[in-house]
Symmetry: C2
Subunit: 338 residues, 2 copies
Amino acid sequence: MDKQDRPRRPTISDVAAAAGVSPKTVSRVINNEPGVRAELADQVLAAVSKLGFRRNTMASSLRSGGQTATIGLIIEDLANPFYSTIAATVANIARTHDTHLITVSSEENPELEQRQFLQLCQRRVDGMIIVPAGSDHSYTRPEVEMGMRMVFLDRPPSGILADSVVIDNAAGARAGIVDLLKDGHRRIGVVIDSPVIYTARERLAGVRSALAEAGIPYDDALVRVGVTNPDEAAHAVATMLDGVDPPTAFFTGNNRSTIGAIQELYRRDSDAALLGFDDFELATLMPRPLTVIAYDVQELGRAATLRLFERIGGDTSWPSETVIPTHLVQRGVQLLKS
Amino acid sequence: MDKQDRPRRPTISDVAAAAGVSPKTVSRVINNEPGVRAELADQVLAAVSKLGFRRNTMASSLRSGGQTATIGLIIEDLANPFYSTIAATVANIARTHDTHLITVSSEENPELEQRQFLQLCQRRVDGMIIVPAGSDHSYTRPEVEMGMRMVFLDRPPSGILADSVVIDNAAGARAGIVDLLKDGHRRIGVVIDSPVIYTARERLAGVRSALAEAGIPYDDALVRVGVTNPDEAAHAVATMLDGVDPPTAFFTGNNRSTIGAIQELYRRDSDAALLGFDDFELATLMPRPLTVIAYDVQELGRAATLRLFERIGGDTSWPSETVIPTHLVQRGVQLLKS
DNA sequence: TTGAAAGCGCTAACAT
DNA sequence: ATGTTAGCGCTTTCAA
């Protein structure tokens, strides 16, 4: 009789006893099933609010064998605005389906991703949206065969056939480079993330294809690979500018790198052109001109989430690949004055 | 026998049958309980991996009556970097407790917040971290009495006694204004969010206290209240600058307003001083000088999460209020060249 | 060391 | 219109 004991939550039976009805009747009332006399229903409702009863979602979904009204989202890093925008979009759509969202970060670590995936399976989420970190997702196959639905976001799956929503990385990068070439640039410094990341590979491929088409030889001295944060990007830009025959323009493969490049170019008062993949909110306040390869991040998240709910709703059609287009946008604070 | 039927996941009984043991033995093995012959355990493990068994977390926690290894986070808007930083911090700490995080947005809507809170209760989360939107949280009391733990973040609770972690809003704003006064400013434009929001009230109180102490009368013409986004902030700054006897300095009450103010001040080439509450990642690249009232956002999230897990761990001490300090930092891209 | 029986809180399937 | 029984997948309790 310790008063520190957490009081047990009332169950459906407690409510039934208090209302003088059977548990099944309570169940009917709280689930709005038809066929309960209004008078009885009122008694039940009164008991519910008197006892502070709240139906146990887990018990309910266990018995009815259906959905848990939960989906999972596996991303690299929730603190990155790109991913938090996606998480917010997914959560908002999930809410319209009365579904909760569990978000986990894999930190670009394939093993962690796999652990997280399996844990979400144990939790019996109704489906998952995955930004894949590794390059082999055959480990998901048994779960898929047992009914787990998943949609891959931003990067396609490998070793498994599944829905995916990606952006048009190669075409976007290609268009950006073509633009630089049109302005007369012939030496373009390239700063890009590790090639183990799909988007980095694709973007670099876009760059190379544009250069090749223009007959410009690919110069290894102008490419820095494996750059993962702004400081490394700033350093990469610095060393290229300090080299012989420095670039007159730079391409940065993601928003983190773009920020590092802006820092370095501004510090040096360099007038090199800058082309960055990914738009970002404060791009309009950056202290120098730049062009960004932009796309609708929310649309990326929306398309993936809608696809997932189609699957959860029973869609068994052949897996689809959705590609979100990109476009070039001029940024930089100088535009505010024009 | 429709092949479209999603195959049922194997249960503990299926594994038991396949391994020729009882369900309880399987349970012992998968929970690492002692007292199972190694040989038997191996049989069980073999059956587990052959069938692709994954223990159903919900069934498990239902029966053992304990925790669900899930916590909830109620914030205003996951797309806002302030909140996504907090969500990332909370999720990371939760992971060290093998706990999943469900994040929901209340969009500054008290009714939505309440609905979300009750839904998380129905899910039997082990606890919640709440950035309260409304001004009355007595509705949480029945749940707290039945064992729900919660910690309030960034804003204190009302109508209920609970742990909270907030920042030192008034002192931070006060220190910032004192700084402006020291530089000789006497007319300071104030741009602040709706006073229904605790942080806005506190920050405005800090401003007023600093002004009062310096013997400067509070001028309503220099205060814009209810500003919720950058555009409104830019407009507020514009109208004050266009007024008679315009301010020589501005105080903006949060990062959104600060951004709007920067836009407007930059556009006009105004040399008015700017003091903004909240630091933000790209503050170092803003095209004009500003001072920010900074604090450790991650520490805010960390302190709240640690407190919550203490509660979940059984701590029943008197509710605590943790206050995170602030400090002034110079920002703006011009610092990069010095 | 192993297993049988009961039950967590709820609902499906069947009475009445 | 209401109630009874059984059982979701697991673990507790207790017996062997």
